[in-house]
């Protein structure tokens, strides 16, 4: 038996199966649920490590199942997919720990963790998809699996947020479906190929290809929250904190951004897209979204909403990096996939901690919180600095490569965008840090809970600390062989230099 042909499938199943079992578990079997969750996460981590090692050595991992007589479901591990798979696997483990702490004692946990696992399954599937139809399959599955998480609380606001979310994503899904069928009809294949599979196509199809590109990017842009398709994201903040964390850092938004990378690299190919002239508009949209998101974030008092608009802005770095269409910018964009994930998840964990421990939901309530919860706020600070792009946190690396890449590609205007965005980031993060650390502590918090001697529960405290450290490490240890930056370089090399 050829194990290599099944590992990608196992990776998907390693979260699918626990998820399905968890659905059947009675509410009170906390131990079993935790065990299943963590076992799945650890197995997935091991499998992914194996694949990373293998791919590093040039092995080939591919699962192929017949879907239609002439169309297969393909799961394939390449550098780009593994990049994203590794991110989601690690963050799933961390988030699971966090969610276990966060949801302790609240109702419907079996359902929650079931869909949580499905969500990760879909993300991993999106990452490993070897052709557009497989990608579409998992992309839609992601929509379906996240919906119950968003409406989890069962309030009317949650239901409405869920409706909004669906209105956007179903519409986006339909656009992708249309683009995919059309593409299939033109080319007869949907297989992801490095540098695209369209360069040989008859030029008479170019107009059609432009529309297909627009369809696909618009469809993906919904999840990636590209302006003006970002409307669902701030509303989706009604979901529990671990969900927001997962949605923003790993699952939904990233799946969209990752999809954009996929479409440009492996469907159209960077050069071909640049020749078609479709990357420049995308770069403009991304740039606009960066500024727009930051501006909106500036005026949010609700902490999670501020973070949400920050996500709108930050994720577009990825699209921007890819759309600049140069090797160095690519490194910047792709590496931001991981960096933004690490930093943003830290921030959301911290926001969740504040809400859970002290009942703080608003920026204006954060005065002096640094003294009450020093560890949480330390992690928050690292994340926030990273977002601003201050060295040595990971965000700096991304912005550096983006800037250099833009110069190299002759798109100097991008620098202005980056600078403007960084300034805005400062404007909406630094006041938070200032009031948290330096303003006086109020007499009472909105709704305080005590967790023994620590500032909050262990399960809530550890995850942000770990992710914050990882964000730091990603910025400091860029030279190590498996660092995100090195891996991003491999991806860029494959896209630009390999024969």
């Amino acid at each position: 038996m050829n194990w290599h042909a099944w590992i990608p499938l196992f990776v998907v199943v390693s979260s699918l199966l626990p998820g399905l079992i968890i659905f059947g578990l009675p509410e009170e079997r906390v131990g079993w649920r935790t065990l299943l969750n963590l076992t799945g996460a650890v197995i997935k981590l091991l499998l992914v490590s194996w694949m990373i090692w293998g791919v590093y050595q040039g092995d080939h991992f591919e699962t192929r199942l017949a879907l239609l007589p002439d169309l297969d479901l393909v799961l394939r591990a390449g550098p780009l997919s593994l990049f994203f798979v590794a991110l989601s696997t690690i963050l799933w483990l961390v988030t699971t720990v966090y969610a276990i702490g966060y949801l302790e004692g609240s109702p419907n946990r079996s359902r929650f963790f079931g869909f949580f696992s499905l969500c990760v399954t879909a993300t991993v599937g999106v990452a490993l998809a070897g052709n557009l139809i497989t990608f579409l399959l998992f992309y839609e599955l992601l929509t379906l699996a996240t919906y119950p998480l968003i409406v989890h609380r069962g309030t009317d606001t949650a239901r409405r947020a869920g409706q909004t979310y669906l209105r956007y994503t179903i519409f986006g899904g339909a656009l992708i479906l249309l683009g995919t069928v059309w593409l299939y009809q033109l080319t007869g294949t949907l297989e992801f190929t490095p540098r695209g599979f369209l360069s040989q196509i008859d030029p008479q199809h170019y107009p059609a290809l432009k529309i297909i590109f627009a369809l696909l990017i618009a469809g993906l842009g919904v999840k990636a929250a590209l302006f003006p398709l970002h409307g669902w994201l701030p509303q989706a903040m009604v979901a529990p904190a671990p969900v927001s964390a997962l949605l923003h850092a790993v699952a939904v938004v990233k799946a969209g951004a990752f999809g954009i990378v996929r479409v440009i690299y492996d469907v159209f190919g960077v050069e071909f897209s640049a020749d078609l002239g479709v990357t420049t508009p995308l770069a403009w949209i991304a740039a606009f979204t960066i500024i727009y998101g930051s501006l909106r974030a500036l005026f949010q008092d609700d902490l999670k909403r501020r973070l949400a608009f920050s996500t709108v802005s930050q994720v577009s770095y990825i699209a921007l990096g890819v759309a600049i269409a140069g090797p160095i910018a690519t490194i910047g964009g792709v590496v931001h996939l991981v960096h933004q994930g690490l930093m943003k998840i830290t921030l959301f964990f911290c926001a969740g901690n504040l809400a859970e421990t002290l009942g703080i939901h608003k920026v204006s309530e954060m005065n002096g919180v640094g003294r009450r919860m020093p560890w949480t706020m330390a992690a928050f600070t690292i994340g926030a600095l990273g977002m601003i792009g201050a060295p040595p946190v990971a965000g700096f690396i991304s912005k550096w490569y983006l800037g250099v890449g833009a110069l190299e590609a002759g798109q100097d205007w991008v620098l202005l965008v980056l600078m403007g965005s960084s300034l805005l980031n400062c404007a909406y993060f630094l006041p938070i840090l200032y009031s948290a650390w330096f303003k006086p502590t109020p007499k009472s918090w909105p709704e305080e809970h005590h967790f023994g001697r620590q500032e909050t529960a262990w399960a809530l405290l550890l995850p942000p600390l770990i992710t914050a450290l990882m964000a730091l490490a990603a910025g400091l240890l860029t030279g190590l062989p498996f660092s995100p930056l090195e891996w991003a370089k491999i991806i860029a090399e494959r896209e630009f230099y390999q024969p």
Binding site: A66, Y147, V151
Partner: protein, 486 residues
Amino acid sequence: MGDLLTDAHWGVLLILLPLFGGLCSFLWPSAVKFIGLATVSAVALSVVGLGDQLLATGVYHHAVGGWGAPLGIDLYADGLSLFMLMVTALVGLGVSIYALDYFDQDEARRFWPLWLLLLGGLNALFLSADIFNLYVTLEIVGLAGVGLASLSGGGAALDGAMRYLMATLLGSLCYLLGVALLYHSAGTVDIPLLAERLESTPPVWAALGLICAGLALKTALFPLHFWLPKAHASASAPVSALLSALVVKASFYIFLRLWLEIFSVRTEGVDDLLGALGMAAIIWGSLQALQQTRLKLMIAYSTVSQVGYLFLVFPLAAIGTFSAWSAVAYLVLSHALAKSAMFLVAGNLMHFGGHDRIADLDRAVQRLPITVGAFALAGVSIMGLPPSGGFIGKWLLLNEALNQGRWDLVFVMMIGGVLAAAYIFKVLGFAFTQAPVTHEPKGVPAVMEWSALLLAVAAIVVGFLASPLMLILGIGETVELMGAGQ
């Protein structure tokens, strides 16, 4: 042993078994459930037997009475018939299991004989190669359907059943008049012989019009769908499931069969008309479904819109290929599974809360997770999201529409999918929230929950079985020939 199995007359058995079971269940009312379930299981096994036989030997052909066409009646089974028989057996089995717990003793005594005879009628319909015989089977299906629809007895159910009866009788009569014209044009009622003998003459055109109109009425093609929502929404849950999943498909099958074999080469314009009506049905049905406040009405209108998809194949088939036909077969299959699951879910919810108002579903997700899960899975197939049978059908159809540059069809399909998502998630959303007035819920038997879930899961799983199912569809090459022979 192997010979015995492949030589057995599975096709004939498929007709006689349920009819006999129906008679037995009428004769021994105290054992209806046992007789019913045994019969339905035996029918399912016979379908497997027939499938095995067809895969080994190609088409099944049986001259009833040994006379053969044109004098006698021929039974005929190719891939398409087998496919429909399979759908019927699958849905029938699921609904039968559900019905075990759904009906009380008195209702069960009335339900099972009717349902078994309906099953016999459906099987006979899918196996017939004779248009007059098809008329008789249509009447069996229609009358059994009306009897079933009126089973629950309330004013709304009776009203729905009455509409259904009027529509189905009118449809049958139109069909019969068409049959009469065809008989006198060609001197036979055997489908293959008709295909050889018919020419494009006024009576044949008139017959085409009448048959199309009659069958469209029975299939509830927009704008002839007016009877369907009330009839399907007010019947009891297993009955609604059978009506929406199977009975509507039976008349559509005849439509498809006659089109494939007799009318396809003689029609210009009619196919476009049917396509246009299909498109209108998709949009209108979805919009109506979106406006409904009652779950069962919503599901019924969803049937109206899903029937529209089936008719999109006709404009495509004019220069279409195998994939257009397999698309429609796939849509039939997945819609049958998903829609029956949905109606069973509605039955569970009504049993649970005593009503089916969408806005008052009242945290059904927590209380009936399996049921709501079934609804969601069935919904995935109805919306045509991957991975599901509905997606495969839609994908094939979209592909074909794009191949032929039929952008109108493409857009309608996309809009239809989005609208379907809108009405399905409307339900799911309310299933999470708390109703303003909570009421004491009643427990739902596990059998009812699980049978609904199984049907819904089947609707998803068929999304992964495209290759084997297309192999089955290809038996006898009717479909392929028609695709290529234009």
